[in-house]
């Protein structure tokens, strides 16, 4: 089935792919249902267990702590399980010296994490909401990202991973909905990863933690409960810097990341009814992004629509658009479209109007087809 807009019901939907979506109050949105409709395409083998996004993240953290004696998980409210339950059970299992609450200070959390990583620890820090990451901006951009380069490779922050929930959630307003990836994508030395599905979340988080570079792991909070699938119970990683073709198509390439990919899938369904075949790409890693995957797709389709919740001006779609028009100019049949949040702070009561939903993406798809 399909769901339209936000409601205050709580119910279970079985989608046409047979996956169940448990949707709570105010989290019912088009892309919440679509989340269940777009399973991961990268699927490691082995015994699997049904997990949602936060339990998959929890599982990854557990494995990281089990396999790396130098690993610590910390941040505000991490001890009791975290405001999104991502760290449930970890303090009980690993003790309060490796899994602990910090004082309430994002610049402190980030600085402390950088210092731990610099002397060889695997520091997995949490910033409670990406909206609050800005006090940590200096430590992330001026310190973590530059540690290796400025020291001539003597020191580095490879052991640093910062996790943070991001994105619209239906009722978050200005400060519980932001997607700040573009600010950080402008920083050489960082990696930025955004999973969409539980299988991705676990594999990409383990890869991020083990990657010898500082990584920002942005978790789409709307998908914490809404995305459910069977996830391998073992230890596995998925490669960073590699995008995923979620659905093959021939007429237009749709690019997104995180929860927005599910919106694109929804839009592609509607486009299919009009006879338009969409190829949907999940970047998975925003920095460094899989340019060749997108470029090859655009050379095939000739049309590109990029969509993200973050405001349009200087959002990451601008980077993708500029790069693709440069390398695929002669393949393009139409101008590249960006379907994004408006250039306003994220509004509360206008969220439904603000977000780049499936209808807006459908219009963009139609416009590139008609060009």
């Amino acid at each position: 089935g399909r769901l339209w807009g936000g409601t205050s019901h709580c119910f279970v939907v079985t989608t046409r792919w047979g996956l169940q979506v448990h949707a709570g109050r105010q989290v019912l949105r088009q892309y919440a249902a679509a989340a269940a409709a777009t399973p991961s395409t990268a699927s490691p083998q082995g015994e699997r267990k049904k997990m949602n996004l936060f339990t998959a993240i929890n599982d990854a953290l557990r494995i990281a702590l089990e396999t790396d004696a130098n690993a610590c998980v910390f941040g505000e409210d991490v001890g009791f399980g975290g405001v999104f339950r991502c760290t449930v059970g970890l303090q009980e299992q690993f003790g309060d010296q490796r899994v602990f609450n910090t004082p309430l200070c994002e610049q402190g959390i980030a600085g402390f994490a950088v210092g731990m990583a610099a002397v060889g620890a695997t520091a997995i820090a949490e910033i409670q909401f990406a909206d609050y990451i800005f006090p940590a901006f200096d430590q992330i951009v001026n310190e973590a990202a530059k540690y290796r380069y400025r020291s001539g490779n003597q020191y580095d922050c490879g052991g640093l991973t910062i996790r943070s929930p991001c994105g619209a959630v239906g009722h978050g307003g200005h400060y519980h909905s932001q997607s700040p990836e573009a600010y950080f994508a402008h920083t050489p030395g960082l990696k930025i990863v955004m999973p969409r599905t539980p299988v991705q979340a676990k594999g990409l988080l383990l890869a991020s933690i083990r990657d010898p570079n500082p990584v920002l792991f942005m978790e789409p909070k709307a998908l914490y409960r809404a995305a459910v699938e069977d996830v391998p119970v073992g230890d596995y990683t998925l490669p960073l810097g590699v995008g995923q073709i979620v659905q093959e198509g021939s007429d237009v390439t749709l690019v997104g990341w995180g929860a927005q990919v599910n919106v694109l899938m929804n839009a592609s369904e509607m486009a299919a009814e009009l006879g338009i075949s969409c190829e949907v790409i999940d970047l998975c890693t925003i920095l460094p992004w899989d340019r060749d995957l997108v470029a090859n797709s655009v050379r095939k389709t000739g049309r590109l629509v990029i969509s993200h919740e973050a405001p349009k001006t200087s959002g990451f779609a601008a980077e993708v658009a500029a790069t693709i028009q440069n390398c695929c100019f002669l393949s393009l049949e139409a101008p590249i479209q960006r379907v994004c949040g408006y250039d306003t702070p994220f509004p509360l009561i206008f969220e439904k109007y603000y977000v780049p939903n499936a209808y807006k993406n459908l219009e963009a798809i139609k416009s590139v087809m008609e060009a």
Partner: protein, 415 residues
């Protein structure tokens, strides 16, 4: 979940009580600061010892310290002049803080990690960084461990457990808390000492680092060099309180205030602080009182803001703390530790001057790193987009290389 909330009051590991134990009283009080924390000193400005038990540095070691203090001072002088001569692009002297920095680095162990701010080259020299090493860094040539990535005086040396300097102020302070935390939970008897100035102490990073270190129990020695100036900002524009030391007890951190220009005091205070850290497995704060004799840097001209009017502020304070090298000179003279002291000093200084001049000449001639080095170390490897950007630059240099002074860089094929 009720049981879980009790957990916050339990610690698996606690050697220091939580200070929050309010009692209740009908007596109304607005607490105001009453008395400035006195600073510990062993030796007065005339080189007289005030407490014999801390006159405890072995003669040979004391002479070595004194020699290094003079070496630092002369090195700073010659490098500073070399900037005025346009040989080096930038420099920062540490005049007046020789005892503070050498005394503290000497008092901890070589394995202890040090996070400098930017005016602690004396400590790095104590650990064996040579004048030649310094000169290479000042010229940013290929021999420098930082590979010329950063401005002069941004030293870093992993072999000497000395973190690379970075320009943003105070960022190193919470990092040192994190390092100290790692040492504690890994059961290491190492500490992490971090230097920061009176200005950096105002940064949010510094204030929060104290709280983190005390709450999470980090084996971190916070060493604040209060030298009264942050560029042109005097300490009375920097804070209204009694300096930095009172912030320690506020966060439940054992705190020592020390006369930074007294080598004996700094050395002993730092040694004791280290012992406390290793024993109690928590941080210590040292505030060291000193004075920045020189300009902030070669881009600063402090006479502009340190005029007669301004200096009246310190007219009672400066004579008391006076110059660290002069004080130690007086002590050495009084105690006849070196024969023909002035002659020996002159020999030392001349030798250092020669060494610095030579180091400058050698470093000046050395080439900078290869152009391809520009793209190394951003990540642990070189991702595709950087490989492409490198190729772009190489293609450009093939055409326009002659406009760029490539001869100063290690040779490289661009084709």
């Amino acid at each position: 979940s009720q049981m879980r909330s009790l957990k916050t009051f339990q610690r698996a590991f606690s050697t220091r009580d939580w200070a929050f134990k309010p009692t209740f009283t009908p007596e109304f009080t607005t607490h105001r600061y009453e008395k400035s924390m006195p600073a510990f000193r062993v030796m007065d400005q005339e080189g007289n010892i005030l407490c014999k038990e801390f006159e405890n540095i072995e003669k040979d070691q004391l002479i070595d310290f004194y020699k290094l203090m003079r070496k630092l001072n002369v090195t700073d002088t010659v490098f500073n002049i070399s900037q005025r001569q346009n040989r080096v692009s930038f420099y920062m002297t540490s005049w007046g803080e020789e005892a503070e920095v050498i005394g503290s680095t000497a008092a901890i162990k070589f394995e202890d990690m040090v996070y400098p701010q930017y005016r602690e080259q004396g400590g790095l020299m104590f650990r064996g960084f040579s004048i030649q090493d310094m000169a290479h860094q000042l010229f940013g040539n290929k021999n420098e461990s930082g590979k010329g990535r950063q401005m002069p005086v941004h030293y870093g040396d992993k072999d000497k457990n000395w973190m690379t300097v970075s320009s943003p102020l105070g960022t190193q302070v919470p990092q040192a808390a994190g390092a100290g935390y790692h040492y504690r939970i890994r059961g290491e008897d190492k500490i992490c000492m971090v230097y920061f100035g009176d200005g950096s102490a105002s940064e949010g990073d510094s204030l929060t680092a104290l709280n983190f270190a005390a709450t999470l129990k980090c084996q971190t020695l916070f060493f604040c060099r209060n030298n009264l100036y942050a560029i042109s900002t005097p300490a009375d524009d920097q804070f209204a309180g009694d300096g930095i030391a009172p912030r320690g007890p506020a966060f439940n951190i054992p705190t020592i205030r020390v006369d930074g220009n007294d080598l004996f005091a700094v050395y002993n205070a730092t040694k004791i602080a280290r012992d406390i850290i290793v024993k109690e497995k928590g941080p210590v704060l040292i505030e060291s009182l000193s004075y920045r004799v020189g300009d902030h840097s070669t881009s600063d001209f402090s006479k502009m803001y340190r005029d007669e009017e301004e200096m009246k502020k310190w007219e009672n304070y400066l004579p008391i703390i006076s110059d660290p090298i002069l004080r130690l000179h007086k002590y050495i003279e009084k105690n006849n530790l070196i024969q023909d002291l002035e002659k020996v000093e002159k020999e030392w200084d001349d030798e250092v001057r020669k060494e610095v001049m030579k180091a400058l000449t050698v470093a000046e001639k050395e080439k900078k790193a290869k152009i391809s080095d520009l793209f190394l170390g951003v990540y642990h490897d070189k991702p595709l987009h950087l490989q492409e950007q490198e190729k772009e630059l190489f293609d450009h240099l093939e055409k326009y290389g002659s406009e760029y002074g490539l001869k100063d860089y290690e040779a490289e094929q661009f084709a």
